[in-house]
């Protein structure tokens, strides 16, 4: 069996989508689905400043990478035809319109679940990967908190 590439990292560097795509492309690969998240500069939410100057991201890096690895394993279990998987979270001070996170899944064809697999990956990242962000705007700082409580075994 071919060794399928799995990339997971927490980085302070700019995301390089083209390089990541190349890393999850095998000779048998014909399709990839990417999800990227970007810092929003304007967001409508009650009680929060409407304009974001920047977000400050931090991570518990070794655990975050372990959980990314776990998500990749979950994806392979649910979509065994997925070939390459890349999960990358950028941390540090990130300004509006900057890509912050990437989930990419590749496979031979597009009807193999790559869209669902990438969707699953970003949903799970937001549930179990220990990364936090603080929104800094004209009105001060606000920690953004998720709502998911991991269960035993997650």
């Amino acid at each position: 069996m071919t060794e399928f590439p799995t990339i997971f990292s927490i980085t302070e560097d700019e995301l390089d989508l083209d390089a990541l795509l190349a890393q999850i492309t095998l000779p048998s690969t014909g399709a990839a689905c990417f999800f990227t998240g970007m810092v929003r500069g304007t967001t409508r939410r009650d009680g929060l400043p409407p304009e974001t100057e920047y977000l400050e991201y931090e991570a518990y890096i070794p655990m975050a990478e372990a959980k990314m690895k776990q998500i990749a394993d979950e994806i392979r279990q649910r979509w065994p035809v997925v070939e390459g998987i890349a999960i990358v979270q950028r941390i540090g001070r990130l300004y509006p319109m900057t890509p912050t996170v990437l989930i990419a899944c590749s496979a031979a064809h597009r009807d193999t679940g790559v869209f669902d697999a990438a969707r699953y990956g970003i949903d799970r990242l937001k549930e179990i990967v220990p990364v936090w962000k603080k929104e800094v705007g004209s009105d001060g700082e606000t920690w953004i908190e998720g709502g998911y409580i991991p269960q035993p075994g997650e």
Partner: protein
């Protein structure tokens, strides 16, 4: 007695004012007991400790879990990556 390390992230770091501490706890200390020990040490963080997520050696841990010798424990709020 077991020596363990505790890391605090995000709001838990703000509440405790600490990033990383080393403490000694009795053998077979449960996560819930550790929270009680820390609540005494950081009275301003009692509510936060009540709601904190906990990991032991980089896996999520829960109130009844025992903390092994040399454990790397971490405490942090609900995650919000992406």
């Amino acid at each position: 007695m077991n020596e363990i390390t505790i890391l605090f992230f995000a709001t838990m770091r703000d509440h405790t004012g600490e990033r990383k501490i080393s403490i000694t706890v009795p053998e077979n200390t449960q996560v819930s007991s550790l929270k009680a020990i820390l609540a005494e040490r950081y009275p301003q963080a009692v509510a936060a400790l009540d709601a904190t997520l906990v990991s032991i050696n980089r896996d999520y841990a829960f109130d009844e879990d025992l903390i092994p010798a040399g454990a790397e424990v971490a405490m942090f709020p609900h995650v919000s990556g992406g």
